[in-house]
Symmetry: C3
Subunit: 152 residues, 3 copies
Amino acid sequence: MTIIMFSGEMDKAIAAFTLATTAAASGMDVTIFFTFWGLNIIKKNMFSVGGSMLLMQRMFNVFSTAALPVSRLNMFGLGPWMMKKLMKKSGMASLGDLMKLARQLNVKYIACTTSCGVLGLDKAALSDDVDEFTGAASYLAEARQSKVNLFI
Amino acid sequence: MTIIMFSGEMDKAIAAFTLATTAAASGMDVTIFFTFWGLNIIKKNMFSVGGSMLLMQRMFNVFSTAALPVSRLNMFGLGPWMMKKLMKKSGMASLGDLMKLARQLNVKYIACTTSCGVLGLDKAALSDDVDEFTGAASYLAEARQSKVNLFI
Amino acid sequence: MTIIMFSGEMDKAIAAFTLATTAAASGMDVTIFFTFWGLNIIKKNMFSVGGSMLLMQRMFNVFSTAALPVSRLNMFGLGPWMMKKLMKKSGMASLGDLMKLARQLNVKYIACTTSCGVLGLDKAALSDDVDEFTGAASYLAEARQSKVNLFI
């Protein structure tokens, strides 16, 4: 399975990592290709980004793993806080837990170099879990051989 | 064909059900896996949800089949109203019609139990058309055997 | 590869055309099926639409190729302007360049007739690059034979 993680919202990330970990647990090879806003999910934090970043790049980088918005009813941060509460209450794994599990199950992370260039992100700004920094051609090589390909 | 119905917007639901009914009419097996905001599409109404629902869960449940937003130019409800008008004018089937047709063509509905737990939705809150309440593993079992898999 | 281009945002269009041109350059057959807001990407301009358009249809047609929003941090047009700047600075091809390249590489454009009807768009309103005006059945016929199918 391959997932293009384009969106940077907490709810979509939870959906992607639930699918990725479930697939990997059942023996499938899973690759997640992080691009555009999806890079926020694997960004260390909004202050880890290099000092040479342009003001415009900084503005596009206000979100990071610790503070992802939700795609509906975000309500200036109340939405994500409520969603985390409800997930905990119903015994569901948090996004952080799902991401740890994904790595234990050998889910492969690719970070899109083109997007990194536009957003001013270098390797140091992203999680050490990233396996490859590469482009769309690598994604397509894997997708062509996969049974399930999703754009999230 | 499988469709993960993650979004709860009217325009995306129309796209999903147009694809689902067209595929089913041509003889394909079609499964729709409703999760997160997509559950709003098969929720009876916003008042059908159980009295034991938490306030936070209620806030996430303001949308239902009868009142879905659109993903662009929602304009506090004017967008969906205009879209319904225009669809009728151009002779296009409404979302309600497409959903009825989907069931006549045996499109299978799966409701994601994990999302139901987080959002506080029980079986009674959702449409009687739901065939299965289950998780990501069931979806993946079907997706692996499908020719077309979409995340909407 | 097939792509359903449902969204009309600049960032998602860039992702779609980057994938489409990369796939086509490596020898794959690529079809893009433009529907709903995705039609904005191939609309000549917001003034090219026929004079017989209803006011409601005009309201849904405020976006066109020259002025697409971005899906996050749009900031009333500042977001798209910043993104174009940053793409140019990092040496990335613009959306216009990617679209020209797509046509040189024979990426096929299908415009969804149902959506055109709802939005009041006729052939004259859309780019001359459109190869076919047709519906979901044509899309599915291609998707069933494709290795990679994405909904963007």
